[in-house]
């Protein structure tokens, strides 16, 4: 079989490796359009603070990894896909035939329609190339403005503060990480950041950027900010589906795939940030845009491509964030759903919070602040749809006993 994978992020790389595991002889081509060996975007914040070198961001640490697995890594941009002729067209006009195709092209950062966003000194933080520029401009003492305090913005926030910049964060919504956690958690994070000397403006919009000659003037819909040496834009992402126009491959916000990760076109699959695949928590198709989902998709898509019928139950939304030492996490339907019951443990003074959401006696969502032990159990309980029985009432009264409940359920004799 002639397998071709477009996109060499975690989804593409795991897919290529999985294909090789199940098909020793097939031809595997992995195509990426960035200048580096396959790397991990998630590692960029650690490169920014010099915890790792550029090489430390590489997805696989041995130089001959792809050669050893007979995976052809080709650096090129794919312009279009002809699904009738089963052919890709590259930027330079060259073409490539495929037998089975995986779309793993990821996503790109959204650039909101704000005047001045294309000025020098304004950068997204999405690629290694972006990170190099931010690394250079985020000098100790510089004033940096971060546009957006979503999940990615908040990860970048920590790296910027650790670089010693003076940081202002501007977020449109009423709290930090509005799509990952509720107002109690989001405001805990905000207060924590403020206590660490970060200026956090929620419910505020950047209206305009202009060059004063001495730096960037950042116009707000209310209030004022000092001139900035760097503006980092983290205003959300969109799946890379533009090059599929006219291919007949069905898209919505991402490539719509079935429970084998196959698109409406036979032999064309999708995985990772580009795939609109089943969300385990809602059963609906959704772009999760997280690393664990990218890897799950990559593995399952490849198994199906190799002829092993393997169904995707759905991936679980989940995130973990370290905000200047305050660790927070969220899983599944953390915001609850129709008919769900909520248990909360709130300790604002000590920045500790745990919220559990139950549907019947099953856990369907969770969020935590100020905790880092056994967090994976939350995923385990949600994903296994474990019936908690009498433990449900115990947890409604004392949510912090969740780890105990987990171990008890695993050892059946304990209720």
């Amino acid at each position: 079989m002639n397998y071709v994978i477009i996109g060499a992020g975690p989804a593409g790389v795991v897919a290529a490796e999985t294909l090789r595991k199940h098909d020793a002889k097939g031809s595997i081509t992995l195509i990426g359009d960035e200048g580096e060996p396959p790397y991990s975007r998630m590692a960029l914040p650690y490169y920014l603070i010099d915890k790792i070198s550029e090489q430390g961001t590489y997805l696989r640490q041995t130089a001959d990894h792809y050669d050893n697995l007979k995976i052809k890594y080709r650096q090129a941009h794919v312009n279009s896909v002809d699904t009738k002729a089963k052919t890709l067209v590259f930027g330079d006009g060259k073409t490539l035939k495929y037998g089975k195709l995986l779309l793993a092209t990821g996503a790109h950062p959204i650039r909101p329609p704000v005047t001045g966003l294309d000025l020098p000194g304004v950068h997204t933080c999405w690629t290694l190339e972006d990170a190099r520029k931010i690394h250079q401009l985020a000098q100790s003492g510089a004033h940096v403005v971060l546009m957006g305090a979503g999940f990615i913005g908040s990860i970048v926030l920590e790296a910027l503060v650790m670089k010693g910049v003076s940081l202002s964060v501007v977020e449109m919504e009423d709290r930090m990480v509005p799509r990952m956690m509720d107002d109690i958690a989001g405001n805990m994070l905000k207060n924590w950041c403020k206590s660490k000397g970060v200026r956090v403006l929620t419910g505020t919009r950047i209206t305009e950027l202009s060059d004063t000659g001495k730096g960037l003037k950042v116009g707000l819909n209310k209030g004022k900010l000092p001139v900035a040496q760097l503006v980092v834009v983290a205003a959300g992402v969109q799946s890379n589906i533009g090059f599929l126009k006219g291919s007949g491959i069905k898209t919505d916000v991402g490539v719509l795939v079935d429970d084998r990760l196959q698109s409406n076109v036979e032999d064309v699959y999708a995985a990772g940030d580009v795939a609109q695949a089943k969300d385990l928590s809602t059963g609906e198709r959704n772009v999760l845009a997280i690393q664990p989902a990218a890897v799950e998709h990559g593995r399952l898509a490849a198994m199906n491509m190799a002829g092993l019928d393997t169904r995707h139950r759905g991936s679980l939304p989940m995130n973990i964030l370290d905000t200047l030492g305050l660790i927070s996490s969220s899983f599944g339907q953390w915001m609850g759903t129709k008919g769900s019951e909520t248990a909360k443990m709130v300790d604002k003074k000590n920045y500790r919070y745990l919220r559990l959401e139950f549907l019947g006696d099953r856990l369907i969502g969770a969020q935590s602040v100020g905790m880092s032990d056994h967090l994976g159990m939350l995923r385990g309980l949600i994903q296994s749809e474990t019936s908690l029985g009498p433990w449900k009432q115990t947890l409604m009264a004392s949510p912090s006993r969740i780890a105990e409940a987990y171990v008890a359920k695993m050892h059946g004799s304990l209720g």
Binding site: M42, P292, E296, R311, H312, H374, G376
Partner: protein
């Protein structure tokens, strides 16, 4: 033959010597909260359950790692964290459905059971043989594996 930690909660008295030994050998301090094995205390039923990583085949932690910092030893099957590569992103700690890989604030890295390289300290420290290091896939452990299968996202095909 791969060896596993076989845990029999029925024999555990809750003395926590395993936690002490583990944290001392691995972290240089007698601090149960830094132990890779934890004893859960169900006082109402007077039962104690030692709990740690099963070195599961799915290797959720390894798969989720964005920088190749977790590998499986080809001989022992043990999942190992390489401190020189771990950036402390913690994604493995939410990806593992058992909650047995955790973040260590003092080092900025994640920690998990690695069988102490083939000579587990918890086993030596346990006075009642509630934890033994054995060749066989035995009782309590199978239970955990069954549970593991339930959490899986898709039928795993073994290579």
């Amino acid at each position: 033959m791969q060896k596993t930690l076989v845990i029999d909660p029925g024999k555990c008295t809750g003395c926590k010597q395993c936690e002490m030994a583990c944290s001392y050998v691995k972290e240089g301090t007698f601090n149960p909260s830094k132990s890779r094995i934890r004893v859960f205390d169900f006082h109402t039923e007077a039962r104690f359950v030692p709990y740690t990583c099963t070195q599961c085949d799915d290797a959720w932690c390894q798969q989720a790692c964005p920088v190749d910092a977790i590998t499986t030893d080809p001989v022992s099957g043990v999942k190992q964290v390489h401190d020189n590569l771990c950036v402390g992103c913690k994604v493995c700690t939410i990806a593992c459905p058992f909650g047995t890989i955790n973040y260590n604030v003092s080092t900025g890295k994640v920690i998990k059971c690695d069988h102490c390289g083939g000579d587990p300290e918890c086993v030596k420290a346990c006075p009642t043989q509630a934890i033994v290091y054995s060749d066989a896939e035995q009782a309590g452990f199978d239970k955990m594996r069954q549970w593991a299968a339930k959490t899986d996202n898709a039928p795993q095909t073994t290579a």
